[in-house]
């Protein structure tokens, strides 16, 4: 009966399997071989653990490992706590939709651009120091490392500025599925304080809904490269940065310990997720014991308000960071204690025009291609589910999240080896392919819920009126879902623009995007040019989000049910 549906589903499965899963498997396989010392290109054909011994003996290895664990686990843990506290304190005053709008700039801006902005704001010669200078009596930048500090504090902070808004969005959308107000009233009527109801009643229901996104955040924080280059300690850096350096070292034999490091990086993420699962199990036990005791507890309110205050302060610094990108790109003379530039100029833009125009067009091409391909695949997947009238199997859901849970550094080198063998490496096609691995999951996740929220009876009504599958898709579903489709596309654009490692590895240094350029420039001295690239890098996703907001509003200006936020 659903022959066409079966064909579509088989096609989608083949594309996902061959296009997304196989590359990851090949990447892990090739990296794993090199980690075991097998590198035919260098004439190494015997498996051994020498690469691992070399890795452990590399200078700074232990420090890199410690930095990775501290910044990755620390930033994730703090982000979850702060986001939870903030939601508990303000949830009643904020709707999911207004929260999402407020968070959009923080979600849209790429990690690298945020990192550049934070460096501008927090550096000894940055905005914060300039504002404090009159009070502290500084006429020169103070002499302590506030960025690239050896503890990784700046990196931890930078990660949190990006991850807290993401978690807030995820928690707010989870809360919209729970009757919070009524449960809060019921709990308080039983004598529990607001904060305690939140911890004992609401959070245990929220956690299963946000578990996967928290894993994604954890995997990302443990293996981030671009933000760690800009904000993290430089010598020794975090493990992911160190591994990237070893991979790109002039000495090709460094690939062996680098591969071991890449596999170690993947294992760290795996272990961290396992740790989180164990913590969840233990927490469940303890929580049940705690709840059964029935203690009304002390008020948790001060803690919640402190968390909200910290979140607000972080967001303020984040906004300042975004602003500083634009200000620096337009600054000409700006000596230290001055809070604003003494003279402004468009020269940073005009002087570097050739460079940023090229990087911008490459970035646009990549973003358009990856978001477009991902959207087409996501729609085909969802339509296939509709035609088969099936809901998604858990293994299929796992496939979608897989690329987000395996650290990029863990398989990109090996994937490049695979691409070299089929003659794809170093070209724009290879970069597009590698980026789609990470763009598709986000597009798919963003589109799935709104797609399923579409009233199936409306589609039945269309079928009963004699319209076939194609017409139901093109004339009913897609126009009705135009807003979530464009939002998913904007998210895809933002993810593509933010990609650093896939471009670096697959482009073999020949594909320059706004992100690779911004990261390279950030270590240089000219903040104005860095500001130009980072402004563009942040501006592109903003423009995509704005378009996703405006286009449906214009297309459906006379359709009240569609010009608002809901899709039904």
């Amino acid at each position: 009966m659903s022959h066409e549906g079966r064909l579509l589903r088989a096609g989608v499965l083949a594309v996902v399997g061959l296009g997304l899963i196989t590359p990851i498997a090949i990447g892990l396989w090739q990296t794993g071989r090199a980690a075991l010392g097998i590198l035919p290109a260098l004439g190494r054909n015997v498996a051994s653990l020498d690469s691992w011994h070399e890795l452990v003996a590399l200078p700074g290895f232990a420090t890199s490992l410690r930095l990775t664990l501290v910044t990755g686990l620390g930033s994730t843990l703090l982000s979850v706590l702060l986001a939870t506290g903030f939601c508990a304190a303000v949830h009643a005053r904020m709707t999911s939709a207004s929260g999402a709008r407020m968070l959009t700039p923080f979600l849209a801006i790429p990690h690298a651009a945020m990192a550049v902005g934070l460096a501008f704001v927090m550096a000894p010669s940055g905005w914060i120091a300039r504002m404090m200078a009159p009070v502290a009596g500084w006429d020169r930048p103070p002499d302590f490392a506030t960025v690239n500090d050896g503890w990784g504090l700046a990196l931890t902070f930078g990660l949190m500025v990006k991850e807290v808004p993401f978690l807030l969005l995820v928690i707010l959308s989870a809360l919209s599925q729970i009757p919070v107000a009524r449960q809060m009233a019921a709990g308080r009527a039983l004598g529990y304080g607001r904060g305690i109801v939140w911890i004992k009643i609401i959070m245990p229901q929220v956690w299963p809904l946000i578990r996967l996104p928290v894993w994604v955040v954890l995997a990302y924080a443990l293996s981030v490269v671009d933000m760690a280059i800009i904000l993290g300690p430089s010598n020794p850096p975090t493990l992911a940065v160190a591994v990237t350096r070893w991979f790109t070292d002039a000495d090709p034999t460094m690939i062996l310990p680098a591969s071991a490091g890449a596999i170690l990086q993947a294992m760290i993420v795996g272990l961290a997720v396992a740790l989180l699962l164990i913590a969840e199990k233990v927490g469940k036990r303890l929580g049940r014991w705690w709840i059964r005791r029935g203690g009304r507890g002390l008020s948790a309110e001060p803690g919640l308000w402190a968390a909200s205050a910290v979140v607000m302060a972080m967001m303020a610094v984040g906004l300042l960071a975004m602003l500083s990108l634009v200000v620096w790109s337009l600054a000409w003379r700006w000596s230290f204690p001055q809070v604003l530039p003494e003279s402004w100029s468009l020269k940073p833009w005009t002087n570097a025009q050739g460079g940023w125009m090229r990087a911008l067009s490459t970035t646009l091409l990549l973003a358009g291609a990856t978001a477009g391909l991902s959207l087409a695949l996501a729609i085909a997947w969802l339509e296939g589910e509709d035609r088969a009238r099936r809901s998604r199997a858990p293994w299929a859901e796992a496939l979608i999240y897989l690329p987000l849970l395996i650290p990029q550094i863990g398989f990109l080198y090996g994937l490049n080896v695979g691409f070299l063998q089929i003659g794809l490496s170093g070209g724009i096609t290879a970069v597009i392919w590698a980026q789609v691995l990470f763009v598709f999951p986000y597009v798919m996740i963003a589109l799935s819920d709104p797609w399923r929220a579409l009233d199936p009876r409306m589609i039945h009504a269309a079928a009963a009126l004699g319209s076939g599958r194609g017409r139901r898709l093109w004339a009913v579903k897609l126009p009705v879902l135009i807003r979530p489709i464009l939002t998913a596309t904007a998210i895809g654009v933002a993810v593509s623009v933010a990609q650093y490692l896939p471009t670096l590895f697959m482009g073999a240094g020949r594909v320059a995007t706004l992100t690779t350029e911004a990261v390279t420039l950030s270590s240089g001295s000219d903040r104005r040019v860095t500001g130009v690239y980072a402004t563009l890098q942040a501006g592109l996703p903003f423009a995509a989000y704005l378009a996703a907001l405006l286009i449906p509003a214009i297309l459906h200006r006379n359709r009240r049910a569609l010009s608002g936020a809901s899709a039904t």
Partner: protein, 216 residues
């Protein structure tokens, strides 16, 4: 024209049949009412007849339309119209375009199609509302627009799924009359499921009680 169900039975994914096998005949222009407690599978029955059954449900027995077995046909080829308690007008189309969506493609020419839609609009008491946004209409207007959209598709049979339950009491009587008058004047065999005895009384046809076999 007639709609015939022959030993129709639906099994759920977990194996049990929802209700005992159902056989009935709906002659042209008549309304047969199926009643039963909520959860017994009334809507699932209509899904099965219309071809909208979700994955996991298994259908045995046959659905015949004017003597032809349509059980194996996809929903869009069955020509069985469907009405719900919500109007479910397409939110991105104007009222007129919603009606035009149902109009068979065999009616050619822009002017002809427009005229057919305008005629249906005035029959439905919606004259002059072609360009209106469905979201700006009253509940009664939306319900009439949905019925006209369904009838314009020239259905060979009509399924009504608690069609009046969301209308307020005053409007309900008016909408019942409106619906049943149209059904009878066009001689469409109509099957209605409802739990409101007044609906059944207004329909004036036979009433069949659907007895559940398992709890859903």
């Amino acid at each position: 024209m007639s709609l015939d169900l022959d030993a129709l039975s639906i099994r759920s994914a977990h194996g049990g049949a929802l209700f005992s096998p159902l056989s009935l005949q709906v002659p042209a222009g008549h309304v047969v009412t199926v009643m039963g407690p909520s959860g017994v599978g009334k809507s699932t029955l209509l899904d099965a007849i219309g071809g909208h059954l979700a994955h996991g449900f298994h259908l045995t027995g046959t659905v015949r339309l004017n003597g032809c077995d349509v059980t194996g046909l996809p929903a869009e080829a069955r020509r069985i119209g469907l009405m719900f308690q919500d109007a479910l007008l397409f939110p991105h189309l104007s009222i007129g375009d919603n009606l035009a969506f149902g109009l068979p493609p065999s009616l050619r020419g822009r002017a002809h199609r427009r005229a057919a839609v305008e005629a249906a609009l005035s029959q439905g008491g919606l004259a002059g509302l072609y360009e209106r946004d469905p979201a700006t209409l009253s509940g009664g207007q939306r319900a009439r627009a949905a019925l006209m959209r369904t009838l314009l598709a020239e259905p060979a049979a009509l399924l009504l799924d608690e069609p009046f339950s969301k209308l307020d009491a005053g409007l309900r009587g008016e909408m019942r009359r409106f619906t049943f008058d149209h059904v009878k004047s066009r001689a469409v065999p109509t099957l209605m499921v409802t739990h409101d005895p007044d609906d059944a009384a207004a329909a004036g046809g036979p009433v069949i009680a659907l007895k559940g076999l398992i709890s859903p």
